[in-house]
């Protein structure tokens, strides 16, 4: 009997110790003792284990006793003690914080708060701002910013078209990464998808501009949600408004009308780039009554020939520093520029009163240049039947977009040329007319989203951009070459080669995609 009592007492003490430990650990887990969340998890697990062990412990306490006297006062007292211990533990676990100290000290830091910054992009063409958050797809992506260029009656070898674009970070956070890439073929959803229901097709709000082949992967996205489907065996031709799907899973979201549809298999070859050609019609010819492209039997849009012939350049000019990111003169082009300038089909006009016949000069004063002139280039100046040839100063003759002077070797005009004279950089035209590499199609296939142009901050005209910079487009209000805004000049040119009749009467449609990331 004494042994039995001792055994029960020992077991009771062990059980009380386990209960107390569970209680302390539970209190610690609440954070009252300043432990970490991980500690709390551990405490929770241990406490849970301890609590879970109570029935076993109870059986352990009770099982060795051959005589079960449920009605004895000792057992009843034990039960009450156990229940009280469990209740104390539970109270401590739930609401017992701060009740286990005698001496206390406390400080409080009320009113703390945290907030997230913003990262938004402004695509500014002229005076028109276009914010990334203004897009219909509600995901800080705006695909509706102003069109950049629209030359409509281009002839081979004639001056191209150029425009400027300013990209601004309008947010409160710096963008560490700033990239430029070709858009990829896309459309928008005309009929909403039902969550949980597998679609058999995607209805589009307008006809496809790029065919989707069987097996192509298309992504439907809206407000940060997305899902990828596989194009069905029939594929979808240019102009199609329905894309058949195969083995489509149930929609993971109720994608609404105007959700974005993108062909992730696009921009692989010149035939499926974002840039695509159509032939002009009587309704779209640039000169009323002119022969449209669709009347010419030798013109075909197959393979997007104009996209594959027209040259594209993107040159940055921020705070007076230039760099050719895309086009002839960019890294990877046949003739990378050490001066930071793209090759452009530059023509210019004299400013002011022009030049006087017989008076030597070493500087051409010109209206703000719409292109670059490389030191050493040969220029012609023509007015009516008069024409002179001029060479730029090989050491000082670099002239960039917007410059108003060009350093030349001493030239004595044979005629008093006025502002009506046309100055042409024949070296630049010759270089571009032989260029079959820096085309819009090449940009699309080389600079798709998986391999964008990373727009590091500029340093100087003659050095590479800073690829180690941690900020590429600073938060709003910041300054410098990685400040909150950077300006780019985008241009196109149709080079003159021997036979280009197959390029008559075509319209190439293309875009640029700008992306920043925290």
């Amino acid at each position: 009997m004494t042994d039995s009592r001792n055994t029960k007492l020992r077991q009771l003490l062990v059980l009380l110790a386990v209960g107390a430990a569970a209680t302390v650990v539970a209190v610690a887990g609440t954070g009252a003792l300043g432990f970490s969340a991980l500690d709390a998890v551990v405490a929770f697990a241990v406490a849970g284990g301890a609590v879970a062990s109570l029935p076993y412990g109870r059986r352990w306490v009770l099982s060795p006793t051959p005589i079960v006297q449920t009605s004895s006062p000792a057992v009843a007292r034990t039960k009450k003690i156990l229940v009280l211990a469990m209740a104390a533990g539970a109270v401590a676990w739930v609401g017992g914080r701060g009740t286990f100290a005698v001496f206390t000290a406390d400080t409080a830091n009320p009113g703390s708060s945290m907030s997230s910054g913003t990262l938004v992009l402004n695509d500014k063409v002229g005076a028109t701002s276009c914010w990334s958050y203004g897009g219909a797809t509600n995901d800080n992506v705006n695909t509706g910013c102003s069109s950049l260029l629209s030359p409509s009656n281009m002839a081979p070898g004639a001056a191209g078209a150029q425009t400027s674009l300013t990209i601004q970070n309008g947010g409160s956070l710096d963008a560490s990464t700033f990239t430029l890439m070709a858009p990829w073929p896309r459309a928008t959803l005309a009929t909403a998808l039902t969550a949980g229901v597998a679609p058999t097709q995607l209805s589009l709000t307008s006809g496809l501009t790029v065919a989707m082949a069987s097996g192509d992967q298309v992504t439907v996205s809206y407000a940060g949600r997305s899902q990828t489907f596989t194009v069905g065996a029939a594929g979808a031709a240019i102009g199609a408004t329905v894309v058949p799907l195969t083995a489509a899973p149930p929609a993971n979201y109720a994608y609404p009308v105007n959700s974005r549809i993108e062909d992730l298999s696009g921009d692989a070859t010149a035939s499926n780039t974002d840039c695509y050609d159509v032939a002009t019609t009587n309704a779209t010819v640039p000169v009323a009554g002119a022969t449209p492209g669709n009347a010419l039997p030798f013109v075909s849009t197959g393979g997007n020939p104009l996209c594959s012939a027209a040259l594209l350049w993107v040159q940055e000019q921020t705070n007076g520093v230039n760099y050719c990111w895309v086009g002839r003169g960019s890294t990877g082009s046949p003739a990378p520029s050490a001066r930071g300038m793209c090759r452009t089909p530059t023509t210019a006009a004299l400013s002011g009163a022009g030049v006087t016949a017989g008076t030597p000069t070493t500087t051409l004063n010109v209206a703000a240049l719409a292109g670059n002139i490389v030191a050493g280039d040969t220029l012609t100046i023509t007015q009516g039947a008069h024409q002179d040839t001029i060479t730029t100063n090989a050491a000082m003759g670099n002239a960039y977009i917007n410059d108003t002077t060009v350093a030349i070797n001493s030239w004595t005009p044979s005629f008093s040329y006025t502002s009506a004279a046309v100055i042409k950089d024949t070296t630049a035209f010759a270089a571009l007319d032989g260029d079959t590499t820096d085309t819009i199609s090449s940009f699309d296939t080389l600079r798709k989203p998986s391999s964008p142009v990373t727009l590091y901050p500029l340093t100087s005209n003659t050095t590479a951009p800073d690829s180690t910079a941690t900020v590429s487009l600073g938060k709003t209000g910041s300054s410098g070459n990685a400040g909150y805004q950077r300006t780019f000049y985008i241009g196109v040119y149709l080079p003159a080669t021997s036979s280009q009749n197959q390029l008559q009467g075509l319209i190439s449609t293309f875009g640029l995609n700008w992306h920043i990331q925290q």
Partner: protein, 220 residues
């Protein structure tokens, strides 16, 4: 107890796999609406006399924007056959049907000139109208601003002072007669081609003719 442990382990497993997904960053993106770059067209048509337009892009020689089947200036019909000193003039209207201006109009004679017999003369002569002193030719523009003689080059209206043989040497674009700029888009230029057997021609030119092609070439 085993279930509890398994549950804890499962939670740990889920955490270890889920953690990489929480490091997303803010991003912003804009895309410019599609830009459009359109090429113009440069097409032309010829109207010979009162005939129908002959479009450069609509002939059997297409797809090169070259039509080699436009109307002849003259044919070997008895009514069209010439006496010595009798001029034959044909009006040719060149129209630019495209949207681009023509920077340069050229005229040349690919293949030169070949003498032929008319076929309706019982005893044709042996004279060669394609040689010097043979058939005479001029090219005169009548619009705009009055006549301008392009071949042989002279101010004002043309006269028969040069021969077909001289022009027949212009067999390529490189040696072509340069008719200057234009026509502009949707505009026309009108020319008169004059042909004549010299009034001094002898009987060796009876029943003889000249076969040649005139090629009108317009550059943008």
């Amino acid at each position: 107890m085993k279930l509890a442990l398994l549950a804890v382990m499962a939670v740990g497993g889920v955490c270890s796999f889920a953690v990489p997904g929480v490091y997303a960053v803010f991003s912003a993106e804009t895309r410019n609406l599609p830009s459009k770059a359109g090429s113009g067209t440069l097409t032309m048509d010829l109207v010979v006399g009162g005939g129908s337009p002959c479009y450069s892009y609509n002939g059997p020689a297409s797809p090169g924007n070259v039509n080699t089947s436009c109307d002849a200036l003259a044919t070997y019909t008895p009514s069209a056959e010439l006496y010595p000193g009798e001029p034959k003039t044909v009006t040719v209207t060149v129209r630019n049907d495209g949207s681009l201006p023509g920077s340069d109009l050229l005229l040349y004679m690919p293949g030169g000139c070949s003498p032929v017999s008319t076929g309706d003369a019982p005893a044709p002569g042996t004279g060669n109208p394609c040689t010097a002193g043979g058939m005479q030719l001029y090219v005169e523009e009548t619009t705009p601003g009055g006549p301008k003689c392009w071949f042989p080059a002279a101010a004002g209206a043309c006269s028969f002072t040069s021969d077909l043989a001289t022009f027949a040497a212009k067999t390529t674009l490189a040696t072509a007669l340069d008719l200057g700029a234009g026509p502009a888009a949707q505009q026309t230029r009108t020319f008169t081609i004059g042909l004549q057997i010299p009034s001094t021609a002898d009987n060796t030119y009876q029943g003889r003719g000249a076969s040649f092609t005139l090629d009108w070439h317009l550059n943008s």
